[in-house]
């Protein structure tokens, strides 16, 4: 177990460094000069030269990367070029929001998927199951952008029950959560249905039933525990994806999350900002991944860490 953790930690650093290095160089080779982008169509050659000097863009790439890395590790993350604010401040505002939204969305999706998936597995041929199956297919296929707009139209414009956007109070998170949760719930419930159907056909379920265990015990203690591995892994992947922000939903609901920050940063070739955000996202995902793997072991004692 200890060796396992050490090995994972090593892999961690290497991955983070690689991604970090790649981002830096991709931003260098992309057409679009940060100084030009800052000046727009009104800049003069003198201003351009001065700005390049100030951003150290006139220096060679490798030493610049080294310098950036040392400072970053030392906690000096610099100022964003796009927002003229400290990167730390931008990041510390955006990450909690995206993290919270990811938790809410995946939590809601998993919470709703459990009864839906179970119902579809236990009554596979009922009318309700067919309806739900159709519903989950819709949930998978509908673009989030459109769903978000429809939800705003219904709940904010027509019914005037919820705010149409912004991050002001907990109510403003209901619609974004719903928008994000719908397609994810569809995925999870289909996973759960498949897993349950498979588990229910297994010998140990028949044995459990034969020795007279009550239905609830058979379902939840025996079948669900085995069927949950698939959907849980899927939920983990969903959560990790959401950590990097959700550009579409953030745009539709005007939420100041990681996605917005990264998008604007990339458009402006805002190196300090993009580097910090990408590195943090990678670290968060790796950390979550590790924690998740450890948790799966609790669920399934067959999993070994070596």
């Amino acid at each position: 177990m200890k060796r396992y953790l050490w090995r994972r930690a090593g892999g961690f650093l290497l991955t983070a460094l690689l991604v970090n290095f790649a981002t830096f160089f991709i931003l260098q080779v992309l057409p679009g000069d940060p100084a030009l982008l800052m000046l727009g169509t009104e800049g003069s050659p003198e201003a351009y030269a001065a700005l390049r000097r100030e951003l150290s863009l006139d220096k060679p790439v490798l030493p610049r990367y080294g310098q950036w890395l040392l400072r970053f590790i030392g906690g000096q993350w610099g100022n964003s070029w796009r927002y003229s604010l400290p990167v730390r401040e931008l990041v510390s505002r955006a990450f909690p929001l995206s993290l919270g939204l990811a938790l809410l969305a995946v939590g809601a999706a998993a919470g709703a998927a459990l009864p839906v998936g179970l119902y579809m597995a236990l009554r596979p041929r009922s009318f309700g199951s067919r309806l739900l199956s159709l519903g989950t297919q819709l949930g998978l296929g509908l673009p989030q952008f459109w769903v978000g707009i429809l939800l705003i139209q219904l709940f904010a414009v027509q019914l005037r029950l919820l705010p149409p956007g912004g991050a002001e109070g907990w109510v403003s998170f209901l619609l974004p959560t719903l928008t994000l949760a719908l397609p994810r719930m569809a995925v999870l419930s289909r996973f759960l249905r498949a897993g349950m159907l498979e588990a229910l056909a297994e010998d140990y379920v028949r044995t459990a039933r034969a020795k007279g265990l009550p239905q609830g015990s058979v379902l939840f203690k025996h079948a669900l525990r085995n069927a949950a591995l698939g959907p849980l892994t899927a939920a983990g992947v969903q959560f990790a994806q959401l950590l990097a922000g959700t550009i579409v939903v953030e745009q539709v609901f005007g939420l100041p999350g990681v996605g917005q920050l990264l998008l604007n940063g990339v458009f402006q070739r805002d190196l300090p900002l993009v580097q910090a955000v990408v590195t943090l996202v990678v670290l968060l995902i790796l950390l979550f991944d590790l924690a998740f793997d450890l948790c799966l072991g609790l669920l399934d004692p067959r999993i070994r860490y070596e």
């Binding site: 992309l30 057409p31 679009g32 000069d33 030009l36 982008l37 800052m38 000046l39 727009g40 169509t41 009104e42 800049g43 003069s44 050659p45 003198e46 201003a47 001065a50 700005l51 796009r82 927002y83 003229s84 604010l85 931008l90 505002r93 955006a94 707009i149 705003i152 139209q153 904010a156 414009v157 005037r160 029950l161 919820l162 705010p163 149409p164 956007g165 912004g166 991050a167 002001e168 109070g169 907990w170 109510v171 745009q251 539709v252 609901f253 005007g254 100041p256 999350g257 917005q260 920050l261 604007n264 458009f267 402006q268 070739r269």
Partner: protein, 491 residues
């Protein structure tokens, strides 16, 4: 029973939280993106000048009619030679409570023209020296500059306290509002400044600029009442609000010149016949309808009609839609089978659409047009700076004075990405700075005619600025520059 009570409780809670938005004297305004920096020496984004107009003031300020009005200077004099301006300061206070002194003015303007400090210092290069008098500031110019006062209305010429720290996030100005809070990608909160020199208090005590990158959500937020004003509505969503109860849309010229830029240095576009053929082959009526849904004004000049005093309105006959003649010109130039690339900036759907319509029209002449859609960063680098393109499309923002717009087409201008060169034109732009009144007007009329005949590019339209707001919002004033005037609004 419990269930019902729970439901009622939830609804009551929802209403409580949500009801907080609709309090009086607070105005919520939607803008698509954050300002870049409130440091007047650093900012270049239009998104900043829009907000900063309410926070900062210069010696003078722009008026809705496109003129210049006194601001921190109550009045001024100009000497006979036109090179010595004396501005007399009025009694005014900064947001931090300190009085505005001549030292503050000298300090701010000296920083604004210092090439080491200010990104747009070049525009104030005409200043030779700034001297503090007892209650006035004297500015000496190297040479007469007819547009000098207009330069002083720009954000870069704002006045701030001499001892001010970093202004980029905490601006200190003298305007009718001050910045109370700024949450990036979320909102800017402005509060009314109670000690403005004018003695007037704007109606709204608080104005929030909410950042909303998506135009559809903007409209829904306006309908739901979370915001009351969209200063610049995308024309593509106009139909969603046009007949909505409780919402009105006010249109005005944007003072933006949308044009096809042509690389005049690159064969065969160095041949005027080819450029003319492209111009004659364009049915701009169709572009106006297709890209702007008819909300715009067709242009034949490099100036918008918003520049009322200088706009040349007699150029319409020079390049009429005439595909037959266009084909003849191409034949004469030996370019019937010309193939070229039309580069479109992806971040402006409006320009992309206009470009796609034009490409079809040019293809109808028998030309082969390759569309290339590029990201803004690429456009700035390749088209604007390296001038490596055939034909492109862009909107050039208007200014208050024709010189600032027209100087772009002079041979040596760093902003002349057309590679246009015309000796008479260069001479006229020089002369224009020294001339006054009718003479100055005549010079700019001739300059506009040269551009229409020699075609550095093809002028398309000045789109309309569409300001969408709740019915109850009154007092909207449109400007020929990129600002939102909050102080004039009330309900």
């Amino acid at each position: 029973m419990w269930k019902r009570m729970g439901l009622q409780l939830i609804i009551a809670l929802l209403l409580l939280t949500w009801g907080g938005f609709a309090s009086a004297q607070v105005l919520n305004v939607a803008i698509p993106q954050d300002p870049d920096s409130f440091d007047p020496t650093r900012t270049v984004a239009a998104a900043t000048s829009e907000v900063a107009f309410n926070i900062y003031e210069g010696l003078v300020k722009a008026t809705p009619e496109g003129g210049v009005a006194p601001a921190l200077a109550s009045h001024w004099t100009v000497d006979q030679g036109g090179t010595l301006y004396t501005f007399y300061l009025r009694e005014a206070y900064f947001h931090d409570g300190s009085p505005v002194t001549v030292e503050d003015v000298v300090h701010s303007l000296n920083r604004a023209r210092d090439p080491e400090l200010a990104v747009r210092a070049g525009e104030l290069a005409v200043i030779k020296e700034i001297t503090a008098l007892e209650n006035a500031v004297q500015i000496e110019l190297h040479e007469p500059h007819g547009a000098f006062l207009y330069l002083l209305t720009e954000v870069y010429a704002s006045i701030y306290p001499k001892g001010a720290g970093d202004l980029s996030r905490k601006p200190i100005g003298t305007g009718p509002y001050y910045l109370a809070d700024w949450g990036p990608n979320q909102r800017l909160e402005l509060r009314r400044f109670e000690h403005h020199w004018s003695g007037q208090r704007p109606y709204f005590a608080q104005v929030n600029f909410l950042i909303m990158p998506d135009e559809n959500s903007m409209v829904l937020n306006l309908k739901a009442g979370r915001i009351q004003l969209i200063p610049r509505l995308e024309v593509s969503v106009l139909h969603q609000v046009e007949n909505s109860p409780g919402i009105k849309v006010l249109a005005s010229p944007m003072n933006l010149v949308q044009l096809f830029a042509i690389n005049n240095a690159r064969p065969p576009f160095d041949d005027l016949r080819v450029r003319r053929a492209l111009a004659l082959g364009l049915n701009r009526e169709e572009i106006l309808l297709g890209a702007a849904w008819g909300n715009g004004f067709l242009l034949d000049s490099a100036l918008s009609p918003a520049m009322a005093g200088f706009y040349h309105d007699g150029l319409g006959e020079i390049n009429p839609y005439d595909p037959q003649r266009a084909k003849e010109l191409l034949r004469e130039a030996g370019q019937e089978n010309l193939r070229f690339t039309l580069t479109l900036p992806a971040n402006y759907p409006f320009h992309v659409q206009a470009g796609e319509i034009a490409a079809q029209q040019w293809q109808a002449l028998g030309l082969e047009v390759d569309l290339e859609i590029v990201e803004w960063g690429t456009w700035l680098e390749r088209v604007y700076t390296q001038r490596d393109y055939d034909v492109s499309i862009i909107g050039l923002a208007g200014r208050l004075d024709p010189h600032a717009i027209l100087v772009r087409y002079t041979t040596d201008s760093s902003r002349n990405f057309f590679n246009f060169s015309n000796a008479r034109y260069d001479e006229l732009i020089e002369l224009g700075l020294r001339a006054e009144g009718e003479e100055r007007r005549a010079i700019y009329l001739e300059a506009q005619e040269i551009l229409a005949r020699e075609l550095p590019g093809i002028f398309i339209m000045d789109p309309q600025q569409l300001a969408a707001m709740r019915e109850e919002v009154q007092g909207w004033r449109s400007y020929p520059v990129y600002v939102v005037d909050l102080a004039s609004l009330y309900q």
